[in-house]
Amino acid sequence: MIDTVKLDQILPLVEKPGRYIGKELGSVKKSTDLPIRFLFAFPDVYEVGMSHLGSIILYHMTNARSDTYAERAYAPFPDMQEQMKKMGIRLYSLETYTEASAFDIIGFNLSYEMCYTTVLSMMDLAGIPLLARERKEGPIIMAGGTCTYNPEPLADFIDLFVIGEGEEVNHELLDLYVRHKKKGLNKQAFLKDAAKIPGIYVPSLVQVEYCTDGTIAAIKGENLPVKKRFILDMDNAYYPDSLIVPNIEIVHDRVVLEIFRGCTRGCRFCQAGFIYRPVREKSLQKLMAQAHQLIKQTGYDELSLSSLSSGDYSCIEQLSVRLLDEFEDQHVSPSLPSLRVDSFQKEYAQKMQNARKTGFTFAPEAGSQRLRDVINKNVTEEDILRGVGYAFESGASTVKLYFMMGLPTETTKDLDDMVELVSKIREVYYRLPKEQRNGSLKINVSAASFVPKPFTPFQWEAQDTTQQLREKQNYLKEKFRSLKGVRFAYHDSPISFLEAVFARGDRKLGKVLWYAWQQGAQFDSWQDCFKMERYEKAFELAGIDPCFYAYRSRDVEEILPWDHIDCGVTKEFMQRELRRAKAGKTTPDCRQGCLRCGFEEVCVKK
C-alpha cells in the first residue's frame, strides 16, 4: 500500500482531488488475498475513464470471479503526477491504494490513438519498465479496446492484446493464468499458452520483416491470423446489476444502456461500423429490466442509450415509449434519439417534447450528394432538410451539423456544396412564420479532418496533407463568415495527422512513442497538454518519416501492418467497397439483404 499520510499531504494541492480517492458506492471490496489481483488501467482522467461503459462492465464481470480481485486506476493528471513524484508515491489502485506494480495483471483500455503516450506515462509512474522484453517479472501488461485492431505501434510495450469483446476471452485468459500461477509463473510459458487462445495476440511471438522501401515483406508467427472475439447472445451476456456511482461528476453522469452492438449501414469511413459487426441486439424485455434495476441501484436521474446508431434498433419506438412512460413519475429523463418524422406516433412526439431536450444533431458528413455516395453515407439533402424542418417546427433554434474535410476524392466543389447545404438549412428556418420561430437561429457547423482507419474500405487511401487541410479550413471559414448565425469549428490538423500515422502504423512507431513520451508527451487529446513539437522531435530521433504512414496511398496488394488481425469482415469485401466508392456507387444497408461481408454464418443462421 502507498503511504496515505503522504497522499493526504498532496491532495490539497491538486485540482479535483476527488479523482484520486475512490470510495464510491458500488466499488468492489474484497479480500486482497486471492490468486489474481487485476488492475484495470485507463489512460485518461477519472471522469473520462469512469464514463467508458465497456471497461466498467469488465470490471464488475472480473470481480464476479471468486478467484480474482479487480481494481481500477486512472491516469493522474500532470499536476498530480508532479506531486506524486515529489513525494515518492507510485501509481496506485483506487480500491485498496495498492501500488500498480504489485498486481498480477494490468489491463489497459485503448480507446483512441492519442492515449498511447499516457499508457507509457502510467507505466512509468507505476515504476514498471516500459519495454516488454525488459520485464522478466512483475505484472503482465495487457491491453484491449478499439485501438487493438491495429496494436502494432504498442507492440514493444504490451505483453498481450485482447482482440474484440472481452466477455468470454477474459475468463479464458484468467483461467489460464491461475493454472500457470499454481505451478509458479513463468512469463514466457504463460504468454506462449495465452497466444493459443483465440483472440489473444502476443506481439513478441510474431516477427515482422520489411522491404527496403519500408513496407512489410512478411508477418510470421503461429496461430495467425488472430481472430477477433465477439459474443453471440447479448441477452445472456454478462451485465452488472449494480454500477459504481461516482462521487464526483463524470463525463457521462447517468445510466448508459447498451442496446446493440454492430452496425449495418456500411459508411466507408467508419471503423466502428466494420469492426463491431455483426449486429447483435438486446431484447426489449432485457433492456427494460436492466434500465429499472440500474436506475434503482444508482439513483441517477438521467438515462441514455448507447449503440452506433440507436435509431436503427428494431424496437426503438416501443423502447422509447416505454422508457418515457415507466420512468415518468420516478423523475428520470431518458435521452432518446430523434426518430424519423414519418415513423412518429403523435403521442410519442408529444412526450418527446416534454423529455429533456438534447439538442438536434445531424451528421451529413459530406457536403455534396456525390461525395456522400463515395463515403456511402446514405442520406439525401431532402432527408436532412426534412429533419431540420421538423426540429425547427418543434421549437428548436439551434442545430449542430457534423462534416468531414479531406475525404477521398474531395474537391472545392464539395466544400461549396457544404456551404450551400448550410444556407439551405437557414432558409428552412426563415421560411417559418415569425411566430413559430424560437429566437435567432444558431447553426454550429463542425468539420473534422478525415483520418483513414484500418479495417475500412479507405484503409488504403492517403490522408490530405496538413497544408491541404489548413487551406480547406480557411476556405470554409471565409465562406461561412458571410452566413449570419453560423459558427464554424474545426479540429486542429496536427492531431488528425498523428491519428492517421498511429492508426495505420507498424511496430517501428514504438520508438516514436517512446521518444515522444520522453519529450513530455502525454494526455495528447487534451488541448492544453498537446505539443506537436514533441512528436516532431520524436520522429526525428527515431529516424522515421511520418508522411510514409499518413500521406501514402497503398496498393491493395501491399501487406498491411494489421494483416495478421482478423476483424471478421473480409479483405475482399473492403476492396469491393473501395472500388464502388471510387465509382461513386452506394451500397445499401445490409438489413435489406446480406452483402456477404464475412459474417454470413452468424447473420444467415439468425
Partner: protein, 220 residues
Amino acid sequence: MRVCVKFSREGFCKYLAHLDIQRLFVRAIKRAGIPAKYSSGFNPHMNISFAYPLGVGIETLGDYFEFVTTRDIDVVQAQKQLQEQMPEGFSVVAVGQLCDTEGKLMALTQQAEYRLEKLPMQFMDWMKSFLQEKSYHIRRERKGKIQTIDIRPSVRECIFLTQQSLCLWVDCSSGSALNPTLLLKQAAEVCKQEITAQVIRLELYTQKNGSMLPLQTLFG
C-alpha cells in the same frame, strides 16, 4: 414534511466539493426510496439545502441539510434507509422533523465548532498572540477589489486541548463567517513556513433563548 439530516464525513471523502456532496445525497435519498418533493417546472429537481457548505479538505462530525417530503415519514426508519445508501466515509447521524414555523437551516446557523489537530508549535504560539489582540486586520480580494477585514471578532472562543490541538468556536452565518484554514494561512505567512493541520467541524450552532445550541436540538 420538513426533514433534517445530520451527517458526518471522515477520511479522504473530505476532498469532495460541496456540489459533489449535494449530488451524492440527492441520489442517496432517491435510492433509499424516501418520497422527496420535486420542484415543479420544466426540469423538476429535488431541492436539498445545507446549513452551511463545507470547504474541501475539512472533515465533519456535524453537518446538516434539509428537504421536504411529499408525505410524512418515519424518521428512525429513514435514518436506517439513508445510512444503507452511504458511500464509505459518510454516515447519517440522525434524521428528524423540523417545525414548519422554524426558519431555514441556513438562516438559523450562527456558529461552528471546529477541532484542529496535528498543529505545529509555531501555530500554537501565533494563535495565543492572536487571541490577545482586540482586532486583526487582513487584506483579501473580493470581486477584483482589495478589502481589509477584521477577523478577530469572528473567533468567539478557543480552548487549547493539548500541545498540538485546540477547539474553536467561530462565526458561521451569512453575515459573518470564518473558515479556520484562513487562520492557518495567516500563521503560515507570519511564520514564513508551511502550516498544515487536520481540521474537523464538530457541530453547528443556533441561538435559542439566549444560548447557543447544536442544530440537532431543533429536531431531536
